[in-house]
Amino acid sequence: MSSSISVIHPNLSAGARKTLLTYLAISAVVFLLMMVFGASMRYEQSEWLGMGPQYFYQIMTAHGIGMIGIVGLAASAVMWFFLSRHVQLSTPILVANLVFFLIGVVLILGAIFIGGFAAAWTFLYPLPAMGKGVWGNHAAASYLVGLLLIGVGFLLLYLDTARGIMKKYGNLGKALGWPQLFFNSQDEAPPSAVIASTMVLIVNIAGIAAGAVVLVLSLVNLYMPSYELDPLLVKNLIYFFGHVFINAAIYQAVIAVYEILPLYTNRPWKPTKVFILSWTLSTLMVMSVYPHHLLMDFAMPKWALIMGQIISYMSGFPVLVVTAIGALTLIYRSGIKWDVTSRLLILSMLGWACGVIPAIVDGTISVNNVMHNTLWVPGHFHIYLLLGLLPMLFGFMYYLVQSNGNKVGAVDDVAFWFYLVGGMGFVTMFLLSGKESIPRRWAAHLSEWVPYDRIASVFATLVVIGALVFAYRFLTRLSRINIATS
């Protein structure tokens, strides 16, 4: 069946096609590079490398911000591809986002690897201004301005999606399917790509606006330290922005599941009332769940912490349950043929679903007070990202690579199993390390912890090998990708 999967886009211009493939090609390379960075941190903790703490924290900063940025870029390409089938989007804006992104990346890389900036991707106040000779104010400023520029690019992109959607559907409520949900409208509900994109643009515009405020205030503080900011308020805004952005990347990439799986199963995936309700609930929850990052901050208002815990329990469920059950229903007795694309997409459902469990555990205040600064937390978000989000993105790349009859080799199947086994082993070692109270963000580990790190390093290597094949396949098949117009 896979050989007959067709990649159709009725109105994709040559410029848009080229830009989207550039997005994905850059993403494939950067995924790989960031995975090498991530693996090198585990090698360092395993005492197999001797890079030293300074380089470790630089690489940790680059790995964090690099992964967040690049999954945002790749996921926006997925959203753009499918959304532009339904609404008119602007190719110049798509290009502008890429240009802003690349300029921002240059500034961030310069800040980290030339300026020595190593305050983690979270740039929590007042750390950027406290380089203590390791980095200077200009390096911190370069990092913050780089982030600001990337935010401007994404803001343009989401404003354009908002314009396109509202031009066709009238307003955001209608694009979310509210007339069908609340007023029993008999009109056909918007396609799932439109509903998902509307949710994403709402949360991401809010997140980017919050980021734009806190980034500029941090810049002011860098050069005028007498303007002291409230560290807790800064942390709230940073985590609102960061949490929303990375969640929105998943919600953009999941459009690939809605659009591609039906092709493999020959069954339509139509938005139902439950589907619409789940996306509406997730819109609210994604924006209100972020206090679960601040459960250890005793100065936070109690109501916010309680809200963080309760919404942490609930927020993963609506869209995830609807999507996972929808995917399983689609597959059941459908005669689906398993190839790399379909396997990756189903793996992404598994990763997304499994990631909820450690998230809920860590979202419990009493557990969080003990576990939050351990490797449990990287375990939780690597399940979401390494086994959930990235397989969606690689799955989309394979969907394009295998377009209209193009085939891939057995090495891709092997790479999938490397990625699956490596990924599962890698995240399990994080969780086990967390269970043993091994702290996170430590360059050097005690000798008792090193065995965990070494096993994790082996699994990390498997993941990198798998991703290397995925990236190589996509890059070498770029020119053969065949997107039909009908």
């Binding site: 209608k174 606006a209 734009a212």
Partner: protein
Amino acid sequence: MSRSILFFVLFLYLLSYSIIGQWFEVSMVRHVLIQIPCLVLAGYLFGRKSLINNRFLILINDKGLAGILMCIFIGGYWMLPRALDAALAGSNMALVKYISLPFFVGIPLAISWQRIHPIARAVIKIEFLTMLFRLGWLYLVSPNRLCNFYQLNEQIILGKCFLIIATSLSLYWILQLFAEDYREQETLKKNNLYDQASS
């Protein structure tokens, strides 16, 4: 047209050299939140009423770009506390303020706003909101008086007002995105343009 000019000049006088104008300037909050916006509003209303279809202005303000840039730069200058001080300290700078805000912010805004790309309009709105939040926050945490002519407590009140205005505007614009039907607006806009073109 002549009635518009008369009202415009009268409004400017009331806002500047009259007792009311001077009363605005006594307080930082009234100065920043009433006098300056009203000066811009005067120019905006005059521009909307009398200049929006001026062929020469349309010619030199292609797609509204020149006008909106002028509006941003001149408006940005009057956001600086230093500029407020200068306008209070000297009559020449006061005159510059009374002229520049209506003529170089309000009127360009009126003749450019509908002409610029919708994405640019949205970016300006979001940047305006985020700037209000930033300024509000900065005014609250500033250890010093930013304007020599006003006391620290007024600065703090102004900072709070900025935050309240930014929050209210955010909610209003978000509600608009859910309540209005932009398809109808697009159709209306197209029809208006068609009417203009055919007349």
